[in-house]
Symmetry: C2
Subunit: 252 residues, 2 copies
DNA sequence: ACAATTAATTGATCTGCGTCAGGGCAGCGC
DNA sequence: GCGCTGCCCTGACGCAGATCAATTAATTGT
């Protein structure tokens, strides 16, 4: 563990953006299309870069923001994996999502004006912080920024309702794995083999299953030669079959 | 059935905005705070009213917008109840939500740039149509409009994940009834007694239950004196007990 | 007013997944 | 070395709710 940035990441490419190469990271970020526009007002662009604050590293277990904190900023994950979760009155956890490099968190805090969940680093995490008042002000001057914000928000509505259906454990796991694969691929990582930074318990909680069920289903999928599992490392062997399983969840 | 506008609505006040009294309706609408601002730039306000188009009546079963149609506008329900739903490949329905007067629909269409669901009138429905390009342009000139759009979008993310948890049938129904009651109350209707414009099947589908289960749970809640049910008319008798049941879903 | 649909209720049975219980294995401090 | 802790896996069992089936309202059309 000499290199904190690359600690705990093994297979395929490491999902950590090169800290020394902002441009390369930004091109895979949810805000990339506005942070790195081709031929757009240079002054406004400079303003956008001005209001971005690079923060990190967070270590596994650290909180990027905390439930109840007043809303002030949204964040783009720059490296590592972030879990968002709520704790109910009895202290039971509800995992809302996992966020890979290039993805935004904190959008659901705008309305209640405070963060409705914790954002927990699952490994070594770096983020970009966007002050929201500043971003909103900029959005008034740069319609592209406004559009992108609208799109990001709208996209999250769709994501949130994906798991609401009553799907079987197999469908959920298949959709989960394929979803991760596609998101890794969109950020330039391998879509076939990747590491699950989250525990079985987190996956189960996110998919509204028992962790025992996650174990059993992963084993079943492996027995059926759809995937290969080794601890937290996963390899997708039969994408078509997985897609067929997940069809109802993903394909609509 | 001589009066189409008020047909099929019985108990308490009818959830139909007075067509002749825009001001009164607008004050209860999701956009009310920007459509009816106190002491705001009159010119910009006029522009907002200019781009609002009143549409209706739709009859039960009519579509306000259709899955796959290119996204062009968002809508505020002005009267009646609208159901949003997806149909998967096999033609099975997935109910995404029910929308009462004053609530916005179509926000989840911004990102995919086409409507990801159908919006179906459950009874006689009137809507306000907001052209989205025009609204976005106006938002650049009126930061209040932009803010309100951000808030509406963000709020929908939270709503979408409410039902994602693994809750019991009783919890779901209690939360559903209380949620409806509060939304009716926020629009000036009775929070104690109201009519379910949607069928048991729609409720069941929305809550990811079987319609038989909805029947049974409603009966059980009635036996326990928490509610009174008569067909599609519901009266909440013991709000505290319902809140206690729904605590895990609503209260976080 | 009538049959013809469609929706709602109720009971009986089935089942997927949660719960409980037990065991293995790696990392870590002592 | 040792016990401790956290994570993962596996089997046995029970239950909430789905499914199947049959009856009884409500709607709708003629």
């Amino acid at each position: 563990m000499k290199d904190p940035v690359h600690a705990g990441v093994r297979p395929a490419q490491s999902p950590i953006a090169d800290d020394g190469d902002d441009l390369r990271f930004c091109s895979t970020c949810a805000f990339g299309s506005v942070c790195l526009p081709a031929g757009v007002d240079k002054t406004a662009l400079r303003e956008l870069h001005m209001l971005v604050e690079h923060i990190g590293p967070y270590r596994a277990g650290d909180l990027v923001f905390r439930n109840g904190e007043p809303f002030a900023a949204i964040f783009a994950v720059r490296g590592g994996v972030v879990k968002t979760r709520q704790l109910d009155d009895d202290g039971r956890e509800q995992v809302l999502g996992f966020h890979l490099p290039g993805e935004m968190i904190g959008l659901n805090a705008i309305h209640p004006a405070k963060y409705p969940c914790d954002a927990v680093a699952l490994d070594t995490v770096f983020v970009c912080r966007f002050s929201f008042p500043a971003l909103a002000t900029l959005a008034v001057k740069m319609p592209d920024v406004q559009q992108q914000l609208f799109r990001l928000l709208s996209a999250d509505i769709g994501k949130a309702s994906l798991l609401a259906g009553d799907y079987s454990a197999d469908e959920r796991l298949a959709a989960f794995l394929l979803g991760l694969a596609d998101r890794f691929a969109a950020r330039g990582f391998s879509a076939k083999a990747f590491r699950l930074e989250m525990s079985r318990g987190d996956i189960a909680n996110y998919l509204r299953l028992a962790s025992e069920t996650v174990s059993r289903v992963l084993r079943r999928l492996q027995d059926q030669k759809l995937i290969r599992v080794d601890g937290r490392d996963v390899e997708l062997l039969d994408r078509a079959a997985l897609l067929d399983l997940a069809r109802n969840i993903l394909h609509q």
